[in-house]
Subunit: 107 residues, 2 copies
Amino acid sequence: MARLPATRDVFAAIADPTRRSLLDRLRAGEQPVKQLAAPFEMSAPAISQHLSVLCEVGLVTQRRVGRQRFYRLNPEPLQQVADWVADYEHFWSDKLASLGDYLEEES
Amino acid sequence: MARLPATRDVFAAIADPTRRSLLDRLRAGEQPVKQLAAPFEMSAPAISQHLSVLCEVGLVTQRRVGRQRFYRLNPEPLQQVADWVADYEHFWSDKLASLGDYLEEES
DNA sequence: AGTATAGTTAAGCAAATACTTAATTATCAA
DNA sequence: TTGATAATTAAGTATTTGCTTAACTATACT
């Protein structure tokens, strides 16, 4: 037997470093694929496939202009990630706080 | 040809739903594997392998007590994720703000 | 000593992933 | 209409992943 179908969710989408870079670049604003893909040493189809994953989970939207395809960032789905991580934030801030106490006692 | 070695980082570690659940459960405190694994319908080795991934990226630590292995949450590496997502937060809050403006104008 | 318990390591497998090159679609330009 | 450009879809491949069962290690119980 093997694992379950592994529905592609936001967490899976941002697990890939290339896809995170693409999102990072899109923060500069809507861009056509050519421009977006410029810094990557990867074939155009590879980029196209990554963009379609991002599209599927709603992290980007598409707009056609002539023969170009403009991609735009849609960060809302990242809220899911932010929400999940937020539940852990007090754990490390508590740790930092106790480290602070420790340093204070030492000084 | 194929892809590059794909070093396992925090983003990859939290991409798997089972591993996220394990972390969620560990928020209740340090636990032996048996207790931690109880709700999962998965073999013990599968859980063990997930825990070792979490260990590799530093999200959990281990402590041996008799024949038990206690795992403890170490949330610090999640800061990386929090930091990355934080850069996107103003994007969606801007969007919400403009939605707010829109709703205000409508009323 | 013998056996049960907690957990990992080993080996193997099917599906998913991240690429590749080749072919295709669609638009623009001469 | 011919050709170049922008991008995708198709098909194929190597690697990784998430599981499984079987075997192993180590501690505890009787």
